[in-house]
């Protein structure tokens, strides 16, 4: 009884016996509905038809597998697939079959010739796609001489073809095939096909015309120090660039051919004894499930294999710089490159990569660290600058220094708009200017930027449309956003800046803090290929922090980033070898 009485007293004390008024009930309902509906909304956005298909396909069979290497073919010749059309023994039938498929192309060239008296042969190739000089010099010339020798009449055509390939055509890229389909597709990408009457084997001669532009400094990633070398559109050339700079036998290139219509070559690069095998497997799995017509750019791959397409943050890093790729590979990441795109993708991405540049490592450690810190600061200003301005000027005028408050108040005299509108106007104007300048030819673009900035800044202030302080804030955010080295990261920050401005305009500082919490929550939940996005920051690993906010001297950076769980943890420098034993025992228990 006593306890019951006490409880009633307690409840009366707390006014718990009071039935909540209707507004509390309403808000309570709201407190359930608001998050629930937002959750449903995102759930819906996440599972609409288009993406449902993609998720289904992720669970289905892979669309492509890694290309077999030549070594593996030596040991085990490729199996014939059922639905492939095969070559006939008769040359005429073969040519007919080819002409039936691609005969209406005006650039198909047929070059008939003969060996000796009887043996007819035909060289087929696509005009322009094949290097004619090579064909003339190394195919036609020796073959013509051979036919004039007159030794070939008695031979079985198939053996003859084999001997041709082995003895007579002095070119490195030769392939023997019995498949008609394979011959045609090879022809379309620039190989010449040599058919001999009576043989059901063709020789594919790789004599592709090379369309190469010069290797330039990467234009999207201007550099202060480091190799003035950027990737180009040719995967071969890019592989050459990478091979040229890595002598490690563990450096691996895995090839894929993707795209249902236009087969494109995709390569996966990694260092075998550093990269975590599960990571490589996962990347391979995701790449092999890509199922599209065509891959015009590596951005397609990025969007098709990323973890969370609702995230504003890039989950693969795009770069034109080979040194960045190699640095990534040596940390235990993998790189993906597509033929026809000069942009390599590095995975997995962690938060710190967005604000790092290779120059951090090329310059000495003190300037390198300071510049890195500067970039973190500018990212912060770029994201929160206008929002803080709005919050302090329209909500918390008491939290800023008195002199500043007075001068802010003075400058805002006569401005007809609330700070949010003011900020939005200027920010949108700046974004438009930037976008406009991007598409224009370089000299014009600069002029647009200059004129636009001047006109909008000065005139708007003089017309009392915005306060001068606002112009400073907007200019500051624009400049700081240029200090972010990654274009994708910059775009993310520009988008988020507008959201945080709205938060600040609704709830002031509290709104900004809620936004920060939301953003952190998102980042904390986000994973890039299984690796938490915030990795270097948390979970705390002192080793990874040495290269996070600051870049400690190189001899301190003995171990590769732990977060990537590299197989070979030690960076093989002389100093590292000396200190290796000390760390050895610790490493064992960690992994």
């Amino acid at each position: 009884m006593r306890i019951l009485h006490n409880m009633v007293m307690i409840m009366r004390d707390l006014s718990l016996l009071k039935i909540p008024t209707w507004d509390i009930w309403l808000a309570a309902g709201f407190s359930f509905l608001a998050p629930y509906l937002v959750y449903r909304l995102f759930h819906w956005l996440g599972t609409n038809e288009q993406f449902m298909k993609r998720w289904k396909s992720l669970k289905s069979k892979p669309k492509a597998s890694a290309q077999p290497t030549l070594c593996s073919q030596l040991r085990q010749p490729p199996e014939k697939t059922e639905d492939e059309a095969m070559l006939h023994r008769s040359l005429n039938q073969n040519v007919d079959a080819i002409c039936k498929q691609i005969g209406d192309n005006t650039d198909l060239y047929l070059r008939p010739f003969q060996f000796g008296q009887h043996m007819k042969a035909m060289l087929l190739y696509m005009d322009c796609a094949t290097d004619k000089q090579l064909l003339d010099e190394f195919v036609l010339k020796p073959l013509m001489r051979l036919s004039s020798d007159g030794v070939t009449d008695r031979m079985d055509p198939n053996r003859f073809v084999r001997r041709l390939r082995l003895e007579w055509i002095p070119m490195s890229e030769l392939e023997d095939t019995a498949s008609l389909t394979r011959s045609i597709s090879a022809m379309l990408v620039g190989s010449a096909v040599l058919l001999v009457d009576g043989s059901d084997h063709a020789i594919l001669i790789g004599a592709k015309t090379k369309l190469l532009r010069a290797i330039d400094e990467p234009s999207t990633e201007a550099l202060v120090r480091g190799p003035r070398l950027g990737f180009i559109e040719s995967l071969r050339a890019n592989t050459v660039i990478l091979r040229d700079r890595t002598n490690d036998p563990n450096f691996k290139v895995i090839g894929f051919e993707l795209g249902q219509r236009n087969r494109k070559k995709v390569s996966l690069f990694y260092v075998q004894d550093i990269a975590q095998p599960e990571l490589v497997e996962e990347v391979k799995r995701r790449i092999s499930q890509i199922d599209v017509d065509d891959l015009p750019e590596s951005g397609y791959i990025e969007q098709l294999i990323e973890d969370n397409y609702m995230s504003p943050f890039p989950q693969l890093q795009t770069t034109e710089r080979p040194d960045r790729v190699i640095a990534g590979l040596l940390e235990g990441r993998v790189a993906i490159m597509l033929d026809g795109s000069p942009f390599a993708l590095i995975a997995p991405v962690t938060f710190n990569m967005l604000l790092q540049t290779p120059e951090d490592y090329y310059t000495r450690w003190i300037p390198g660290s300071l510049l890195r810190v500067l970039r973190y600061v500018s990212a912060f200003v770029s994201l929160f600058g206008p929002a803080l301005y709005i919050a302090f000027i329209s909500f918390h005028q008491g939290l800023i220094p008195t002199k500043l408050a007075i001068s802010m108040s003075g400058t805002r005299e006569g401005v007809p708009f609330p700070p949010l509108v003011e900020a939005l106007m200027m920010e949108i104007a700046i974004e438009i200017l930037r976008e406009a300048g991007l598409r224009l030819p370089k000299p014009v673009g600069q002029a647009v930027g200059l004129v636009g900035g001047l006109v909008i800044g000065t005139a708007a202030v003089e017309a009392h449309l915005v306060s001068p302080l606002m112009v400073i804030v907007v200019a500051l955010t624009a400049i700081t956003s240029f200090a972010i080295p990654q274009y994708e990261a910059g775009v993310a920050i520009r988008m988020l800046r507008f959201i945080v401005m709205f938060c600040a305009a609704t709830l002031g500082l509290y709104g900004i803090i809620l936004f920060i919490l939301m953003l952190l929550t998102h980042v904390v939940k986000l994973k890039s290929f299984g690796l938490p996005y915030v990795s270097p920051a948390v979970p705390f690993r002192s080793n990874d922090w040495q290269d996070f906010l600051l870049r400690l001297p190189l001899f301190k950076l003995v171990l590769r980033p732990r977060m990537l769980k590299p197989q070979d943890q030690q960076r093989e420098t002389d100093i590292a070898k000396k200190g290796g034993d000390r760390d050895g025992s610790g490493r064992q228990s960690q992994s």
């Binding site: 956005l45 008491g398 408050a405 007075i406």
Partner: protein, 413 residues
């Protein structure tokens, strides 16, 4: 059929959640206020309403009886900054004052603050730096009651500085010149290292702390003299009555600084004594310790004052001597003079506060509380009497370590 249904449901949900998001965002901005629509107040002056206003019935804000009735009506003056002129915008001409004063009369503080809304933009007091209380008011009204509202209201910050004014408090806000009076006050207050007559600032927080603790203290007092603002003296506030008790003279202020021992800077002028002309001792450092001595029922205090400094001005005739002993003697003499002078000043101060005001403004009670908590608990109720009777001995030792730029050794040649 079924997946179709689900799709529809999903679409509905999506539509609802969009609506919800919109409803979340649209009514927002409850608190948004334009900064240029606030009356940024930099100072508040509290006066007793003049007799002609005492009988006037305020149109608004008569006391409803549920608040303690003030025997005296208040007259409050807010100094409101005009940001356009204060921030030096080109449009403002230099002959216009960058502030205006608004004076209202009424019974309670908060009512008065609200009454402003009838005249101009609402008072925005987070930037108030100074609260002035006129002596007249501080004599009659309990300071805790007076400052209560400032302390409670989160609109005022606890970092405002409290001053007492000899003249009307509002007259401080209308001194000559175009500077903002609060700025002038604050910049003079920065000179506390130059003169013993400028006391350490007491913020609202510190003042309330002292008032709730019941300790007596000294407030800086201001005065307007010939239309000019000057720091006047120290005003003793009695911790028991929480009212103004009396002023301290210039010498007593100096003595108080020595007893507190918290200040650096300040000068001691040694007047003519035994026919010797004076010199000036510039304090570099002073410390003081109050040591309570409890002997049975007898409570006494010993004040230990240590100081280092230099002779910064010397009016005595040059003594050309090579004798080391003479220099020693000269130093000894100077030191003795300074010590005697300090002892004299502190004695005067102690006389004043022990005999006349009977308020412990030098913190003896605190020392007693710290060192003899049991004794303190016993004597706390009649502390005023005990303090007035407690013997306080002052023990000064001064170290002259420097003669300024003018080296005595050089003088001798």
């Amino acid at each position: 059929m079924k997946p179709n249904c689900k799709l529809k449901l999903r679409r509905h949900l999506a539509r609802w959640s969009c609506l919800l998001l919109a409803s979340l965002v649209l009514p927002g901005c409850w608190d948004a206020r334009m900064i240029n629509q606030l009356s940024i107040t930099s100072g508040v002056a509290l006066d007793q309403a003049p007799p002609e206003l005492m009988t006037e019935e305020g149109a608004v804000g008569r006391n409803n009886g549920n608040l303690p009735q003030n025997p005296d009506r208040l007259q409050v003056t807010f100094e409101i900054i005009i940001p356009k002129i204060a921030s030096g915008m080109p449009s403002g001409s230099s002959t216009v004052k960058p502030f205006t004063n608004i004076t209202v009369t009424g019974d309670t503080m908060h009512e008065l603050t609200r009454r402003i809304a009838l005249e101009t933009n609402p008072i925005f007091a987070e930037h108030a730096k100074v609260i002035l209380i006129s002596r007249q008011l501080a004599e009659k009204v309990d300071l805790i009651r007076l400052l209560n509202m400032f302390y409670r209201d989160e609109g005022y910050r606890e970092s405002c500085v409290i001053f007492l004014t000899e003249s009307d408090a509002k007259s401080v806000f209308s001194v000559k010149g175009n500077d903002i009076p609060t700025d002038t006050i604050m910049s003079i207050a920065d000179n506390q290292f130059r003169s013993t007559r400028v006391l350490p600032l007491l913020t609202l927080q510190k003042t309330m702390e002292k008032l709730t603790n019941g300790t007596s203290f000294v407030l800086q007092s201001l005065n307007v003299y010939n239309g000019k603002l000057m720091f006047h003296s120290g005003a003793v506030i009695d911790g028991a009555t929480k009212r103004f008790t009396g002023y301290m003279g210039a010498l007593e202020m100096q003595g108080l600084a020595w007893l507190h021992g918290k200040k650096t800077g300040g000068l001691v002028r040694i007047p003519e004594f035994e026919g010797k002309p004076s010199f000036v001792y510039e304090v570099k450092k002073m410390t003081s310790r109050i040591i309570p001595v409890v002997n049975g029922d007898q409570i006494s205090f010993r004040v230990q004052i240590r100081s280092r400094g230099r002779i910064s001005e010397d009016w005595r005739p040059l003594q050309i001597t090579e004798n080391k002993l003479d220099i020693e003697r000269l130093l000894q003499d100077s030191r003795r003079d300074v010590e005697r002078e300090i002892r004299l000043m502190t004695q005067k101060t102690l006389d004043l506060i022990q005999r006349k005001y009977q308020t412990d403004i030098i913190g003896c009670s605190n020392e007693l509380r710290i060192h003899h908590p049991q004794v303190w608990a016993k004597v706390k109720p009649q502390w005023k009497r005990i303090f007035a009777e407690a013997p306080i001995t002052v023990d000064v030792s001064v170290d002259i370590e420097d003669f300024g730029l003018e080296n005595m050794q050089l003088q001798k040649r």
